[in-house]
Symmetry: C2
């Protein structure tokens, strides 16, 4: 090892889900939306002024923060935008989790939380979910340097009711509580109305799921103006211009179309509920997901076996090897009706061939 | 102050240059390229598959790292791409400047270096430029935790000859040396060939200046495969998907067109040299800039006065109030021939009216 290697920050990086790109595949592994972005996005792409790309974008991203503020009926000074919700969350960890006390998050949760904490040297404590994979609000009433949890939780899909979310915030008024609502649009109740009561709450959402824009990298946070100010100060100290000109314009079009947004998410919810019925019929076990994925296990077939069998047929789902409690689960993103039918048909045939399902 | 404010990371943010947006303005304040991106960029925009925007982009950004590697004739595993060179530099500071010893950079230099160091709690020492605003290689031969400097330097535009760059790298083999070459394409000699001799060297460049893409946020670093691996590990631990699908596609087109790139930068160099002749005629003093800007003072008129007079005519240049050594300078980006003529004509008239220039 060269001497210069000694002082390099060495981290065990987060491993993103596979991103296979085959025309025939059924991609149910990274919780993308199966429907295209709002029609206004395609339209806007036809009117990009290429000459303007030589100029820096607006560092305040005003058009996009304004459009988001309008949609959620909050002040423009309450909105922060970043390069996907991962960027928003990383900046939030850096800004708000700056204490010597451990931050708290669930033991089974979004796998980036401990990666950010390790990299930024933030102490943390993992709070176990109960045996039904539920967050218990009472467990978050201990001394801490901040709290963060997804709602619905990932990869379980379990929704914490709003009164329990409030119980956690109310018990932690001296720190920042981040509610990571990447999947809230698929049947959950957002914590946004709680902003009227709590100025230490930060709600983070994304365009990657319910707005079909994973490929464009747009996430946002909504909070009290003072929190957003602190967040912007750190962002401006890291990279003044994070959102490019095209992303800003397309993002505005994506958020403006409320009707398309409602229609798309309703379709996904209907497909999810149909998939639940079918998986139940095939003997799978899972909670009542309120997200755009189902986290399921089959009591008679190991997850790894199913994962590999599906992959051979170019059907991609997600399997996490750790922690052990979830090693026998598959996370299945909700695709189109046709994709979910093909997925269910394959499982039906596979389990029949194994004599686990009988016709 | 709420109790939760106590543990928030408080920083004095970097203030980006003004980004006025008037149709009639002459914008010479943020070193943008006056010419549009390569024609292939416009062409590629017409062929974006909007449906694909619902899918995550390639986290490894292979198409773009590949195109950059081809252009510079280096290995693909030697290229790292980020959201502008600010993102690349911030990630590099986080990855490589991880020692208790101070990093070294010039006292007059890119104003983000001390902002990043402060935010990331990296100790640093500012090494004074000499009286001609030159970097002295001998000053960088003291114990340190890393070295970073722009070449040409900003905002002075002064180029350090390659043998002096090598002298600094050779004297600092136990740490990482970052050469920030945002402006290298306008007449400088890149440190890239030194990569064959030094595996502790990281060269950072950007698409924002010589490739007319400031609005799209693309920066890159080239270094030894082991440095790039460490940088990617930190990047993947911060945000796996930083480059969106459209940016990747347009970036490839921008870097592929070598003829357009050469032609554009030659035009800017010619306009810069013409502008130097004119400014000299008007009594301005400046060094021999090898960048796309000129850093100049007039011995008889305060910079602030000229800055304000120009602004009234919608001609924007950059003025830095601090440090004091440069408070009487203006940084003037090189625009088109017509823009520079209008700029010079205004100064000529202004200085004549003040009886400083006589016809």
């Amino acid at each position: 090892m060269a001497k210069w290697e000694e002082n390099i920050r060495k981290v065990i990086p987060y491993t993103p889900g596979e991103q296979p790109d085959k025309s025939s595949m059924i991609k149910l592994n990274t919780n993308e939306n199966p429907y295209p972005p709002a029609p206004g996005v395609t339209e806007a792409l036809q009117h990009i002024d290429t000459d303007k790309l030589r100029l820096y974008p607006d560092p305040a991203v005003s058009d996009l923060t304004g459009a988001i503020a309008d949609f959620y009926k909050v002040g423009k000074d309450q909105v922060f935008v970043g390069v996907g919700s991962d960027d928003v969350l990383a900046m939030s960890f850096m800004t708000f989790f700056n204490s010597d006390k451990p931050i708290l998050f669930p033991d089974i949760t979004y796998s980036f939380y401990d990666v950010w904490a390790d990299m930024l040297r933030i102490p943390y404590e993992r709070i176990p979910l109960d045996e039904k994979f539920q967050i218990c609000a009472a467990d978050y009433k201990r001394e801490n340097g901040g709290v963060v949890f997804p709602n619905p939780n990932a990869p379980t899909g379990e929704l914490l009711p709003l009164d329990m979310v409030e119980e956690i915030i109310a018990a932690n008024k001296d720190v920042i509580v981040i509610v990571d609502e990447a999947y809230i649009d698929f049947g959950g109740e957002s914590a946004l109305p709680l902003l009227e009561k709590y100025d230490n709450l930060l709600v983070v959402q994304t365009f990657s799921k319910s707005r079909s824009m994973a490929g464009m990298r747009i996430g946002f946070a909504i909070g009290s103006p003072v929190l957003i100010k602190y967040l912007n100060d750190v962002k401006y100290s890291f990279n003044s211009y994070t959102m490019d000109r095209i992303t800003i314009q397309l993002g505005v079009k994506a958020v403006e179309d409320r009707a398309y947004f409602e229609e798309t998410k309703e379709k996904i919810i209907r497909t999810r509920e149909w998939t639940k019925t079918e998986l139940r019929r095939l003997g799978f076990e899972f909670g009542d997901s309120k997200s755009n994925f189902i986290f399921a296990r089959h009591p008679k077939v190991p997850a790894m076996e199913l994962f590999e069998a599906l992959k051979k047929k170019d059907i991609y789902v997600r399997h996490f090897n750790k922690p052990e409690r979830i090693a026998d689960y598959l996370r299945i993103s909700i695709g189109t009706d046709a994709e979910m039918k093909a997925f269910v048909d394959f499982l039906d045939q596979y389990l029949t061939d194994c004599k686990i399902v009988t016709a």
